[in-house]
């Protein structure tokens, strides 16, 4: 596992924002067993000012996410991996106290896989080959929406209005 930078940064999940008004440097964890994919994503996301960590399998990724000081905002997760597969990893991620957003990145785009991924908590499903530009746009959108949410995790205003 590698980490691009070490200094603490604002965390989307904590509802913090960048003091300068710019987008916070989102923390991303790429879990994929293929070196080429990990390194390509690491490069692409760093270009877009993401902070990127990588893990070669589900166990390694979970170990990272379970650390007390972990503040990962988003996980890019492969489905087909040796050892703990993507679906099992996804399930375990959802059991974490404050699970990061998880986007599946897979070569398999079957309906069954996609439904299973969403049922297990994925926020998006991207198939390879993917357009890096589109991928980054999707990740940004998910992360911005997450950052816009109330830190308390309360329901949206339309529900609050009804309850009032």
């Amino acid at each position: 596992m590698s980490e691009s930078r070490d200094q603490p940064t604002p965390n989307v999940r904590a509802g913090q924002s960048n003091p300068g008004g710019e987008r916070p440097p989102y923390r991303t964890l790429v879990i994929d067993d293929e070196d080429d994919v990990r390194e390509l994503l690491e490069y692409l996301l760093k270009q877009e000012e993401f902070r990127v960590q990588t893990a070669a399998d589900g166990e390694e990724g979970l170990e990272r996410l379970e650390r007390e000081d972990d503040e990962t905002d988003l996980v890019l997760l492969d489905i087909s991996m040796p050892g703990m597969g993507g679906f099992e990893t996804l399930k375990r991620i959802q059991t974490l106290e404050d699970p990061p957003l998880t986007v599946i990145l897979s070569s398999t785009g079957t309906e069954d896989h996609q439904v299973r991924a969403f049922e297990n908590g994925a926020v998006d499903y991207v198939t390879k080959p993917f357009s890096p530009v589109v991928l980054v746009a999707r990740l940004n959108r998910h992360l911005e929406r997450e950052a816009d949410r109330e830190p308390s995790g309360m329901p949206g205003p339309w529900i609050s209005a009804t309850e009032k």
């Binding site: 080429d36 390879k128 357009s131």
Partner: protein, 377 residues
């Protein structure tokens, strides 16, 4: 009872006792040294392999960094950069580029393709396609496919051998740039084969998807001898857009009377899409009786599907006529689907077609003001 051998007798029953202690020690030393040598050889191989892997990884990382930095720079001097790379580094770069085309699409894939061209990979792929070596030719064709490069159809036609894998790869390359010339070349390449694989049929369908006329023109010559290939080409027409205008249909119509049932079946499937052409329907009318009596049930079913696709009164009347003689349940079901709501006029409640069964329990009920026959309670 087995008596001990003279040697055993001499050594008091043990086979080892005849060896003197010194000899045993020498043997033990030889065995030990041999084992140690083997261990040393294995260890040194492992160390060398580890070192090779480490060097390879370092090399890959270095080339990958060069590639990514160049891509990020946008206007990197690739030719100068590649000139500095060793042969091994260039091989790694090509591998990374090829892998990249599997991972990314859109503008990133275009960047990779442009980079591959900048490092002369396209020219090298052309040379490979022109080589005498089948492996090299396939490698060159694969590179063209991976990077989405367009090739001159004439050149591709001239280079492609009779090998099916090569032919299908060539059609796939032509599908990168579908136009009348590439479509015609693709059909010509396909016609050299006795049959296509599923992949070949698929890529030919891709090439002809928007305009199947070049294939119709070729079929018009009626010189495809292999029934399997002919049926596959007809199936390609089924999956393509309908040819507009007056594209020649003689080749397809001839398929209705072909000796092979797979061809007759496929011809029916194609003609289901051309019911709007009066002259096609006239020709089918001449063959329809034979089709209804075809010994192959799949041909009859496809003939009914064809009429069902046409769907007008004349076609439904023919389906109704077929319902009177058809005995196969699956074929009857196809007829019933084609007739839609009118099926009840021709089929009995259990799907049979005998007059007694069809009409025995049905009666006009004019007093109820119902126009259509209704089943009596």
């Amino acid at each position: 009872m087995i008596s001990p051998s003279p040697l055993q007798a001499q050594s008091g029953g043990s086979t080892w006792h005849f060896l003197e202690t010194g000899t045993v020690l020498v043997l033990l030393a030889i065995v030990t040294v041999t084992i140690l040598l083997l261990v040393a050889v294995v260890l040194s191989k492992a160390v060398r392999n580890a070192e090779r892997t480490r060097r390879k990884t370092r090399l890959e990382q270095s080339v990958r960094r060069t590639l990514y930095e160049g891509l990020a720079a946008g206007d990197a001097d690739w030719e100068g950069l590649v000139a500095d790379l060793s042969d091994r580094e260039q091989k790694v770069l090509v591998r990374l580029l090829e892998r990249g085309t599997e991972l990314v699409s859109g503008s990133a894939a275009e960047d990779l393709s442009a980079l591959a061209e900048a490092i002369d990979l396209r020219e090298r792929a052309r040379t490979k396609i022109e080589s005498e070596n089948r492996y090299e030719r396939l490698r060159g064709l694969t590179l063209f496919i991976e990077f989405g490069w367009v090739a001159d159809p004439e050149w591709l036609l001239a280079c492609t051998s009779a090998d099916r894998d090569e032919a299908e790869a060539a059609i796939r390359i032509l599908a990168n740039d579908p136009n009348p010339v590439t479509r015609l070349a693709g059909v010509e390449i396909a016609l050299r084969q006795p049959s296509l694989s599923v992949y070949g049929t698929h890529v030919l369908s891709d090439l002809l998807e928007d305009d199947p006329e070049p294939l119709l023109q070729q079929l018009d010559r009626q010189d495809v001898d292999e029934p399997e290939l002919l049926a596959q080409l007809l199936r390609v027409l089924v999956h393509s857009e309908t040819a507009t205008g007056d594209a020649p249909m003689a080749g397809v119509l001839a398929g209705l009377r072909h000796d092979s049932p797979i061809v007759r079946e496929a011809a029916c499937a194609v003609l289901g899409k051309y019911g709007w052409r009066a002259e096609v329907r006239d020709q089918v009318d001449l063959a329809v009786t034979e089709l209804f009596e075809d010994p192959a049930v799949q041909v009859r079913i496809q003939a009914y599907e064809m009429l069902a696709s046409w769907g007008d009164t004349a076609a439904r009347a023919k389906l109704a006529r077929a319902a009177e003689t058809e005995a196969n349940p699956r074929a009857l079901f196809t007829i019933a689907r084609g007739l839609g709501n009118e099926a009840k006029l021709f089929l009995g409640p259990d799907g049979t077609t005998s007059m007694e069964q069809r009409y025995g329990s049905w009666r006009e009920v004019p007093e109820l003001g119902i126009d259509h026959p209704q089943r009596l309670p």
